[in-house]
Every structure is written in structure tokens, then in C-alpha cells.
């Protein structure tokens, strides 16, 4: 796949470039700010854009705004936002758009998981950092999820991360059939409508988790 990177720190930028290139992907452009990102993306038409959420000049949400602009202009393009901190509201808002990922920067060190998530986003799926998901299902929400079994909760978290059933099965060393049963149970227990579309399933789960999360 073809990846465009926007990251202001040179070391990290080059690290990401070699990460993708080492995995056999193509990196046609790596930018140090969000300014020319939209034009570059328009030119290169990559499968995936990886953006640091905080970039010059104000170091607040330049990356996030650029990501939204790209998504508006090229809905088919995958956008992966890299962040330094765990934010549930913001992250869930972005990820709910589909073809969108929100991962903590440290996640890139788990190369296999990271590349898998990147690939998923490039394919129009979702990726939400496990730590963000953990936050979503922690605190007050944990009480609400008390009706789920430990395994069901694990499945729920992986669903929220954006994993497909087969990916979940691989991750949990379960058969796909077992995973499907767990998914069905979770959806029923949480009273979430479930279809076969992986993305809509993620949206439903995230919406549910967020509602649960903000209710308190």
C-alpha cells in the first residue's frame, strides 16, 4: 500500500518511513507539517495517510483538522491519527467516521499490530487504540458491563478496536465460530443491533460504549 506521512519530528518521521518500507509498503511523501498535506495527498492519492495529531505551529490539533479535511475530500482514503495521549471523546468521534484510526504513538513499536491496524484502516475499516478502548470500558462503564463474561468483554474490546472476527479469533486463539457466538452474545446482552458489516458493527459498539461512558 502507499502511505503518506505527516510528522513534525524528523527522527520519528524517518522511523515511520522505514517501518512502512521495511514491511514492503511504499512511502511517496513524508511531510513535516500539516500545511501542504491536503495538496500532497491530492497529488499522490495514497491508500493511507498517517498524521501526528499535534504539529506546528500551535501544537494543538493541526493534525486532527488536516485528517478531517482529507476525509471530507477523499472519503475512500484511510487516515490514521497518531496521538500522545488517551482521549476518548475525540478519538471515538474520529474513528466513527470509518476508514479512520486513532492510535497512540507507542503503538508503532508493536509493529505487527500496528501494520495490521494500518492495513485495516486503508481498507476502510477502523482502528482504535486498545488503551483508549480500555479507558472506555473502565471506570463507571465497568459496572455497566458487569453482565458480560470475561471472555465476552475481551471480544467487545477487540471489536471496539476495529478487529474483524477472524482477527479476533487469531488474537484470542479461538475458532472463528466461537468468536461469532461471543459477538452475538455481547450484542444481545448490550442490546446493540448487529449485522454482518464489520464497520457498522464497530460503530454500534463504539456508540454504545460512548453513551455508557458519558452517561456518568
Amino acid at each position: 500500500m502507499r502511505v503518506v506521512i505527516a510528522e513534525d519530528q524528523a527522527l520519528l518521521r524517518e522511523g515511520l518511513r522505514s517501518l512502512f518500507e521495511d514491511a514492503g509498503h511504499e512511502v511517496p511523501a513524508a511531510l513535516e507539517s500539516a500545511e501542504r498535506l491536503l495538496a500532497t495527498v491530492r497529488g499522490h492519492r495514497p491508500d493511507l495517510v498517517v498524521v501526528d495529531i499535534r504539529m506546528p505551529p500551535t501544537f494543538t490539533d493541526e493534525g486532527a483538522r488536516a485528517a478531517r479535511q482529507i476525509k471530507d475530500a477523499h472519503p475512500e482514503m484511510g487516515v490514521l491519527v497518531l496521538s500522545q495521549h488517551i482521549e476518548t471523546q475525540y478519538a471515538v468521534d474520529l474513528v466513527s467516521l470509518g476508514g479512520f484510526g486513532y492510535l497512540l504513538k507507542g503503538r508503532v513499536l508493536r509493529v505487527a499490530d500496528f501494520l495490521e491496524a494500518a492495513q485495516r484502516v486503508a481498507n476502510g475499516g477502523s482502528a482504535l487504540d486498545p488503551r483508549v478502548v480500555a479507558t472506555l470500558v473502565s471506570g463507571g462503564a465497568r459496572h455497566r458491563l458487569g453482565q458480560l463474561s470475561e471472555r465476552e468483554r475481551e471480544v467487545l474490546e477487540l471489536m471496539a478496536e476495529g478487529l474483524t472476527n477472524s482477527a479476533i479469533a487469531t488474537r484470542l486463539f479461538l475458532s472463528e465460530r466461537t468468536v461469532e457466538a461471543h459477538v452475538r452474545n455481547v450484542m444481545t446482552k448490550l442490546d446493540v443491533a448487529h449485522g454482518e458489516d464489520a464497520h457498522r458493527r464497530v460503530l454500534a459498539v463504539l456508540a454504545h460504549l460512548r453513551a455508557m461512558h458519558t452517561q456518568y
Binding site: Q9, L11, L12, G15, L16, S18, L19, D22, R54, F59, T60, D61, Q84, H85, I86, E87, T88, Q89, Y90, L104, K105, G106, V108, L109, R110, V111, T135, L136, S138, G139, G140, A141, H143, H213, T214, Q215, Y216
Partner: protein
């Protein structure tokens, strides 16, 4: 002009050292002069009575006595009070001249007409009586020249005054050495002095012209002074002008009578007019001085009245006691005297207080009332019924100056401030007068007031001095408030700087350390890739190292979040939701997206954090409610739980820290924590900061 005569009132509540000395030294000379004048006057009156039919009619003598007394009294008072001031001495000389002329006349009438040859030197008395009068005009001219400040109106008049004095001297010499016979009824008396040769007669018109010019110059000087004068000085000059106008009139009539050679009867009427004039001028000066408290004379009068009456009353007490006891016991004994003395001594203090009070009430109403109100105010102040800051409105009221301002001196900052601690300085064009307020020699502040007039100059100083204690307390309170204000402001600044610092540290952790560690991890992963084989032992080491990096990243992230949550960038509501999401118990958040100043949002966030921590740690709560909203221009943050309650703000507890944080923003913290009914913290933070 105003400033020029201010020094007239510059009599001081702390007398200048030199004045002190002169006051202490017995003021003998004025008393002696008054005594001599009185003696001469008495002698004249006795001789006049002895002269019988040859003497003056009684009303003329009475007029003369009154004129002498007026001049001696006013002159004596001023000379006592203001030794360096020429007016007092000039009036005393005037009194002496009047008295001596009267005595000389009586002497002449008795020794020449009634009992010829009974007394020696009769012709000297006649000569003095008839030729001394220009000297009196000279004294009056001098008074007109220098009234009221004791100086000539301008240096130009120095030469004029010298010429006038010289002309007067020539005129006097010519009068005394005149070859003409003395006037009736003493035409047969020989002149005791040799006569001038007739060749000097040409000097007469010149001397007369010089003498009259002196009078005109005096009038001109008074006129020019009047034109420049303002306020009280104008009023004083008016009083003098009233009687000084008599001088030329009298002089004209005298000359006319001499020229027309009028009869003795008319002459005596003119002479009465002359005497009246000589008495009227000191009297008008006396009025000007008393009415407008010139030369601070009222204090002398006040003392004189009080101690005069005191002496009389004590003497009466002593006499009455002695009489009563002696009558009752039928004999005089040592202990009758002792008892009377004791009674008089015991009566001294209360009697003096009463008399002083009565005299004050009668003669200086404003001062008396003002001081009484200040005393009452101080009593209320001591009783804690009134704030010392009320001194300003009180002074305004007492001194009837609604624009009066009390300013306090802050020695540390070296500025003047008002009662609210705000710095004050004079507006340009403000012509108000600044009177310093001192206490034990140290400046407390000043009273800014309109230029005082009439009888208030001394009243103002005394009233302000009496209020010194209240002013000092008020000053201390203002200073304390100001310092407290400064401490508050600096605490708020420090807290704000703390938030800013947290923000910087958080940024540094995220964008510096964390990024760099991720870069290192990526470099390691790249190296691992270059190794090619995942079976390589180095590959396992790299895996372990990257895991360590991941842990370190997590720790750094938690550290940064504790320093300052990045969600605060998106507003208080977002940060509170994030806080709630991470809590180990259900937390309900009620907050809308309204934004506040950054440091206020940070303060509110940390208040909520600490409140939540308290609820989790100590309250055994099952759920917590966080609320942040804008109410009446304030940011209200509340944290309520359903825990065990009974929280108190003891030292070192979380509540204490919370309270400090809230107060640093000028807010208030209310803790409602009844045992068994949960805890509710409400912090009110003012938004305008």
C-alpha cells in the same frame, strides 16, 4: 496672595522652638508699656479732675480713656502673642502717646490754670500737649503702611516711608522750636525750648507737604494692598479703611480750626474728634484681629478669660470658706486657712475644666463643637462601635468641607492612598490646601481641603490633631488591606504561573521525551528488521527492550496527565469527562461547552480532581457528581458524593489544599459534609480576574 498671608495663621499646633522660648521668657516689655500707659492715663484723669472748671468735660476724658485702653489692650495682646510683629508695638506706642498727651494736658490745666506754680515743668507739659500730635499721626501712618502682615506692601514703599519719616521729624522739630507763642489758653506760657530763627520759616510748607504726602502714601499703600488682597485680608483691610478714613478728615478739620482760629469750645470738640480717631483705629484693628482670628489672638484672650475668671472664683471660694468657717467657729485658726486653701486647691481642676468649656463654647464655637465630636467619635471607636475610616466623613462634616479628603501615607511604598488603599495624587488645577497629619513627629498622611477662612485655620489643625488616633488606626488598616491585596495578587500570580508551568512540562513530556523514545523504539525495530531473522538472539533482546520502552512510555504518559491533562486544551467540560472516564467509580458530569480563561479552567479542573480524589479515598462513595457551570459571572465547580460525609478541613488534608487553591483565585469554598449524608464541595471562582 492667599499663600502670602497663610503665614499669619501659621501658628502652629507645635509651636516653633524659637517661639517657645520667647513664650517662656516673661513677656515683660508689653506689660510694662501697658502699665506705663495706664499709669499716665490715670495720672491724666486725676489731674483733669483736680483742674476742676479748667479741666475737660467728663465725656471727653471718658473718650480719651477708652481710646487709650483700646490701643493699649489690642497692642498689648498682639505684642504678647507676636513679639516680632510691629503692629502690636505701634499700637502700644500709640497708647503711650495718647496717655502722655492726656496726662500732659491735665498737668498743664492743673499746674498752669488751676494752681499756677504748684507743680514744676508746666511749660513742658503744655509744649508736649500742643506740639506732640504729629507724632501720633506718624504712628497711625506707620500702622496703615504695615497692616496686617507687618511689612510694607512692596519694597518700593521703603523709600516713601523713609521720606515720610524724615518729613515728620522736620515737622516735629519745627513744631517744638516754633517762635510763635503757644496756643490759648496757654498763650502766656513761655516756650521752654529755644526758637528757630525766622530764616527757617520756609521749611514749614515743605515739612507740611512732606507730612501730608506721607499720609497720602500710606493711603495709597493700603489701596494697592487691598487690590491684591483676597478673602480675609480684604475684610481686615476694610475694617482698617473704615477708621483710617477718619485720619484725613480729622486732619483737615484740625487745620481748618487752626486757620480759622476758632474758639476754645470748638477747639475742644475738634480735639475730641482727634482723640476719637486715635482710639477708633486701634479699635478697628482690634475688631479685624479678633473677628478674623488674626495673629492667633483668640488663644490669648481665651487663656486670659479662663485664668482671670479662675483667679476670681478661687479667691471667692477661699474668702467664702474662710468667712463661713471663721463665723461658725467664732475664731480664726490655722486650720481654717488650711481648709480654705484645700478647698480652693480641690476646686482648681474641675473649675478650670468648666470655665475652659464655657469660654470655648462662648468664644470659639466651631472649635469647641468640632473637638467635642471628635472626642465622641474616639469613644465610639474605642468601644468598637464605629470604624476608624469614618474619620474622613466626620472631618468633612465637622469642618463643613464636603470635598475634604483624607490621604494616608504609606512609608514603605512612599505613596499616598485613600481609604480604599488606592493611590491618589493631585489632579492638575486642584487648588486645595494640603495639611499634613503628624503623630509623634511621624507623618500619617494629609488632609486635602479647601483653603480655610474665617475662624477655621486653627480649628482645622486642632480637630485633625485630635482625630490623630483614628487616622493612625485607619492608616494601619489601609496599609494592612493593601498588603493583603498585594499578597493575594501575588498568590494568584504564582498559582497562574504554576498552571502555565504545568502546561509547559506536559508539552515537554509529550513532544520531547515521549517522541524521542518512540523514535528510539522505531530505530530498534528497524535494526531488528535489518537482522532479518526473528530467531536471532539480538532480536529477542530488541523485543524486550521495546517492551521496556513501551512501559516507560506509559509511565511518561501518566506522569504528563497528572501534571496537566491535555484535554484541558479542549475545554473544561472535555477535561472533566476524561477525568470521570478514568475514575474507579461512576462519575456523572454536568458541564456545558462554555469556555473560561485558561488558568481558571485549570483551577476548576484541579479542584474537581482533588474533590474526586477525596471522594474516592475517604468518602467510601458509590457515585460522584461533577458540575461546572457559569452562574452570575462566576465559575461554580461542585463535587458531590453519596459517601459517609463528615469531612473537615484540617491541616494537611485535601480539603485544606483545595481551599488554598480556591482562595488563590479570590474564590470561596463551601464544604457541606454531614456525617452519613455525603459531601458536597462548592467552589465559586470569580471569572473577571
Amino acid at each position: 496672595m492667599r499663600a502670602q498671608y497663610q503665614h499669619l495663621f501659621a501658628l502652629p499646633w507645635h509651636p516653633a522652638p524659637c517661639e517657645h522660648r520667647s513664650m517662656r521668657r516673661a513677656p515683660l516689655l508689653p506689660w510694662m508699656l501697658v502699665a506705663v500707659a495706664a499709669g499716665l492715663m490715670l495720672a491724666g484723669a486725676v489731674l483733669n479732675a483736680l483742674a476742676g472748671a479748667h479741666g475737660e468735660p467728663w465725656w471727653q476724658s471718658a473718650l480719651w480713656v477708652v481710646a487709650t485702653l483700646a490701643s493699649a489692650g489690642v497692642g498689648g495682646l498682639i505684642a504678647l502673642r507676636r513679639r516680632g510683629h510691629p503692629i502690636g508695638w505701634l499700637l502700644l506706642v500709640n497708647a503711650l502717646l495718647l496717655a502722655s498727651a492726656g496726662a500732659a494736658e491735665g498737668y498743664a490745666q492743673y499746674a498752669v490754670l488751676e494752681q499756677p506754680g504748684a507743680l514744676p515743668g508746666a511749660q513742658w507739659a503744655v509744649l508736649w500737649d500742643q506740639s506732640g500730635w504729629p507724632l501720633m499721626f506718624g504712628v497711625l501712618t506707620a500702622i496703615v503702611f504695615v497692616f496686617p502682615d507687618g511689612r510694607l506692601p512692596s519694597p518700593r514703599y521703603r523709600r516713601v516711608a523713609r521720606i515720610a519719616a524724615f518729613a515728620l521729624a522736620v515737622f516735629l522739630v519745627l513744631s517744638f522750636l516754633d517762635p510763635e507763642p503757644l496756643e490759648a489758653p496757654f498763650e502766656h506760657v513761655d516756650r521752654p525750648l529755644p526758637s528757630l530763627p525766622a530764616a527757617f520759616a520756609f521749611l514749614w510748607p515743605l515739612a507740611l507737604l512732606g507730612f501730608l504726602s506721607g499720609l497720602v502714601a500710606a493711603a495709597a499703600s493700603a489701596r494697592s494692598r487691598f487690590r491684591r488682597a483676597a478673602g480675609i485680608e480684604r475684610l481686615q483691610l476694610k475694617w482698617l479703611a473704615l477708621t483710617a478714613a477718619l485720619v484725613p478728615v480729622t486732619l483737615l478739620i484740625c487745620f481748618a480750626s487752626a486757620l480759622l482760629a476758632a474758639g476754645v469750645e470748638e477747639r475742644s470738640a475738634f480735639s475730641a474728634l482727634f482723640v476719637f480717631m486715635l482710639g477708633a483705629i486701634p479699635a478697628s484693628i482690634g475688631v479685624a484681629v479678633l473677628r478674623y482670628r488674626l495673629y492667633d489672638i483668640d488663644r490669648v484672650i481665651n487663656r486670659t478669660l479662663v485664668y482671670g475668671a479662675l483667679t476670681l472664683l478661687l479667691a471667692a471660694t477661699y474668702a467664702a470658706t474662710t468667712l463661713v468657717l471663721a463665723t461658725a467657729l467664732g475664731e480664726r485658726s490655722a486650720w481654717v486657712t488650711a481648709s480654705a486653701t484645700l478647698l480652693a486647691a480641690a476646686a482648681f481642676r474641675p473649675l478650670r475644666g468648666r470655665l475652659q468649656d464655657a469660654v470655648d463654647r462662648r468664644f470659639s464655637r466651631a472649635r469647641h463643637d468640632g473637638l467635642r465630636r471628635i472626642r465622641e467619635f474616639l469613644e465610639e471607636l474605642r468601644a468598637g462601635l464605629i470604624a476608624p475610616e469614618a474619620a474622613e466623613p466626620l472631618l468633612r462634616d465637622v469642618l463643613s468641607d464636603p470635598a475634604l479628603e483624607l490621604r494616608f501615607w504609606l512609608p514603605e511604598s512612599e505613596i499616598y492612598v485613600d481609604g480604599h488603599g488606592h493611590r491618589v495624587s493631585d489632579r492638575p488645577g486642584d487648588e486645595r490646601v494640603h495639611t499634613p497629619v503628624l503623630r509623634a513627629g511621624a507623618p500619617l498622611g494629609m488632609v486635602v481641603h479647601h483653603a480655610v477662612d474665617e475662624e477655621r485655620p486653627r480649628v482645622l489643625r486642632e480637630v485633625v490633631e485630635a482625630a490623630g488616633l483614628a487616622i493612625e488606626i485607619a492608616r494601619l488598616r489601609v496599609e494592612l488591606r493593601r498588603q493583603l491585596e498585594e499578597v493575594r495578587a501575588s498568590r494568584a500570580r504564582i498559582v497562574s504561573a504554576g498552571y502555565e508551568e504545568r502546561r509547559r512540562i506536559e508539552r515537554d513530556l509529550h513532544d520531547g521525551a515521549q517522541q524521542r523514545m518512540v523514535s528510539i523504539g522505531l530505530a530498534l525495530r528497524h535494526a531488528q528488521h535489518e537482522l532479518g531473522s526473528s530467531k536471532h538472539p539480538a532480536s529477542r533482546i530488541i523485543d524486550a527492550t521495546v517492551d521496556e520502552i513501551d512501559v516507560a512510555l506509559e509511565e511518561l504518559r501518566e506522569l504528563a496527565r497528572g501534571v496537566r491533562p491535555s484535554q484541558l486544551d479542549h475545554g473544561l467540560a472535555a477535561a472533566l469527562r476524561e477525568l470521570a472516564a478514568r475514575a474507579s467509580l461512576p462519575v456523572e458530569v454536568k458541564a456545558d461547552g462554555v469556555r473560561f480563561p485558561l488558568d481558571l479552567e485549570a483551577a476548576a479542573y484541579f479542584i474537581a480532581t482533588e474533590g474526586l480524589t477525596n471522594a474516592v479515598k475517604h468518602a467510601q462513595a458509590s457515585c460522584v457528581r461533577l458540575c461546572a457551570e457559569r452562574v452570575d459571572g462566576k465559575l461554580m465547580v461542585s463535587v458531590s458524593d453519596d459517601g459517609i460525609g463528615g469531612a473537615t478541613a484540617v491541616d494537611g488534608s485535601g480539603l485544606r489544599g483545595l481551599s488554598d487553591r480556591v482562595q488563590a483565585h479570590g474564590g470561596t469554598l463551601q464544604v457541606d459534609s454531614v456525617r452519613g449524608h455525603g459531601t458536597t464541595l462548592v467552589a465559586e471562582l470569580p471569572c473577571a480576574s
